[in-house]
């Protein structure tokens, strides 16, 4: 009976990595390949009044220029497809794509970008999500600055009765926590190589983490069926959620379709840092009702997520955060209000943990404060409240294969911490 599962089998791709035989997208060079650079918005918010690419098109060494007019299908992509590949008019963040040039090399493409005549009517941006929510704030989006969930302007989680819980509590503990904008910073920057293959199909070497998810988006942009795109990938130099969004494939694909020649579009580290999706910042307000014995019997959480100029995965991240922001605890009364706000920043999207890392960051400081407020050891609070098998989460899911207590016991042991006997006696299998 083969038993490889659980064994430290060596990485299948490990030999490729240590010999540098592993091929990443920027390692691909095709004969006659041209290089793309993109003109991006120099302002945070504005309206394009005039765009003239003719001088760039005439420049020696330039093979093609594309703008919003060159998108044959939907000029929109994303999990919530609201972001244009090239913005035709409205600019919602600094760095938004306006036009792309393909040329014999990147230097020539950069020179050509300078020949594009761009007239933007600059508008007042809004960066602070709390200001963006105020009446009369500059509108990032025509429909308003707050995302509409199926529950309205807040993602609502209502479990039990928090007011009753607060009334029955011995102590109320409040806290406000913020997390910052984070960059995925994978060592492999965003890059795409596109060409027309021997069957006259569009082929794209991609760094996508999600071949089929992005293939679906690309079919809409290019107005092509799935089998007219050969999407080549599967090996990526680090993603962490950055390659969960398309950054280059749409531009490279559109250019290859237009000029019918191989193209490479790669972001410099600076372009990647400035313009690509981020882990958006959050503000969390917690109010807990706690019994003196350590039980958290009510938890109210209000979250505000800054998703930048486009939805990206922002609303999804707020949803996912709301499911678990109350922590891995059996709290009988939970109220969560999750708000997702547009501001004039690069779109926030997924990054390792999809909002759960941010919720954990806040809930774990709050829970430590709960322990401090009632004079208990934090271990005691974690153990007493930890989910057991069959407990319900705030969105009423049933906890299966619970294992937090077992993980805590082992961690304490490895940290050289002697837990009290009554905690050591606990198990996730029952309360």
């Amino acid at each position: 009976m083969a038993e490889y599962v659980g064994q430290p089998v060596l990485r299948y791709d490990g030999i490729g990595h240590v010999t540098a035989r592993t091929r990443y997208v920027d390692d691909i060079q095709l004969p006659g390949m041209l290089y793309i650079k993109v003109l991006t918005s120099p302002v945070h918010k504005g309206i394009i009044r005039h765009l003239d690419t003719s001088a760039a098109e005439r420049m020696p060494g330039v093979a093609g220029v594309i703008t919003a007019k060159d998108v044959p299908g939907k000029n929109a992509y994303g999990l919530i497809p609201d972001q244009p590949v090239f913005t035709p008019e409205h600019i919602r963040y600094k760095g938004e794509r306006i036009a792309a040039v393909a040329a014999v090399d990147e230097d020539t493409a950069m020179e050509a970008l300078e020949k594009i005549k761009l007239d933007i009517e600059e508008q007042e941006p809004v960066f602070d999500p709390f200001k963006a929510m105020e009446p009369g704030a500059p509108l990032v989006r025509p429909e308003g600055n707050v995302w509409e969930f199926n529950s309205g302007k807040t993602r609502k989680i209502r479990f039990g009765d928090v007011e009753k819980g607060f009334a029955e509590a011995d102590v109320i503990v409040e806290g406000t926590y913020t997390t910052a904008t984070n960059d995925h910073a994978p060592m492999e920057p965003q890059v795409s190589v596109a060409y027309i293959d021997e069957t006259d199909r569009l082929a794209i070497y991609t760094v996508s983490q999600d071949l089929y998810f992005h293939l679906g988006m690309l079919t809409a942009i290019f107005n092509l069926p799935m089998n007219k795109i050969r999407y080549i990938g599967g090996t990526v130099g680090g993603g962490f959620g950055s390659k969960n969004d398309i950054h280059c494939d749409h531009v490279a694909g559109l250019m290859a379709l237009k000029i019918r020649k191989p193209v490479k579009y790669r972001l410099t580290r600076r372009e990647e840092t400035a313009y690509t999706t981020k882990r958006g910042p959050w503000t969390f307000y917690f109010k807990d009702g706690v019994k003196k014995d350590g039980r958290i019997i009510a938890r109210y959480v209000k979250t505000v997520h800054d998703t930048g100029g486009y939805a990206g995965m922002g609303p999804y991240v707020v949803d996912k955060n709301s499911i678990l922001v109350a922590g891995p605890y059996a709290i009988p009364n939970v109220w969560v209000d999750g708000i997702c706000v547009f501001t004039n920043k690069p779109p926030a999207s997924s990054m390792r943990g999809f909002g759960i890392i941010n919720g954990t960051a806040a809930d774990q400081l709050q829970t430590a404060r709960v322990a401090e407020a009632i004079g208990k050891d934090p271990w005691e609070v974690h153990f007493i409240n930890a989910w057991r098998e069959g407990d319900l989460g705030a969105t009423q899911f049933k906890v299966e294969a619970a294992g937090l207590i077992e993980a805590m016991k082992r961690a304490a042991e490895l940290a050289g911490i002697e837990l009290p006997a009554h905690l050591k006696a606990m198990s996730s299998r029952g309360r």
Binding site: G14, T19, D26, D27, M187, G238, R269
Partner: protein, 157 residues
């Protein structure tokens, strides 16, 4: 205006036409298709393009190509001898010191530069030796373990 650049690459002479502004990374990757040095930042921050020039580790992205004229340049493509993996390559593989693998060539070169000068480094010296090489997968613990194993003679031929 282009210049002829001649140097020794992994033991073999090469010559190519380069611009004065081409970096060694441009020369290796774009002109010679030697792609083990990775373009991670073009700014000397990440170390993914680390190569050896006359035995010294340098950032290929910060090195003007023409400055290596007549010198010996070593990359991961030249680590294997007689078809056999270098001890560091074996150790990295067996210690899972590569995850996505993108920083790995630079790490290997940094490790080789360290061990060539100091075959028995302390843990602190190893950490210092690779501290200029960023790995976003976070393989540092495994990289240090792999280099320690080589230094301890566990990967002798």
């Amino acid at each position: 205006m282009k210049y002829v650049l001649s140097f020794n690459l992994n033991g073999l002479p090469v010559d190519t036409l380069v611009k004065a502004t081409d970096t060694l990374l441009d020369v290796l990757r774009e002109k010679l298709n030697v792609v083990s040095p990775k373009r991670g930042c073009d700014n000397g921050d990440c170390g993914a393009c680390t190569v050896l020039v006359n035995g010294e580790p340098v950032r290929a992205c910060l090195t003007i190509g023409l400055t290596v004229a007549g010198k010996n340049v070593q990359t991961v493509e030249g680590l294997q001898q007689d078809g056999k993996l270098h001890p560091l390559q074996r150790a990295f593989h067996e210690h899972y010191a590569a995850q996505c693998g993108f920083c790995t060539p630079g790490m290997l070169i940094a490790a080789k530069a360290l061990l060539d000068k100091n075959p028995k480094p302390t843990r602190e010296q190893i950490v210092e030796g690779i501290s200029g090489n960023l790995c976003r997968c976070g393989t540092y613990v495994e990289v240090v373990e792999a280099i320690q194993a080589v230094a301890a003679g566990k990967y002798k031929e």
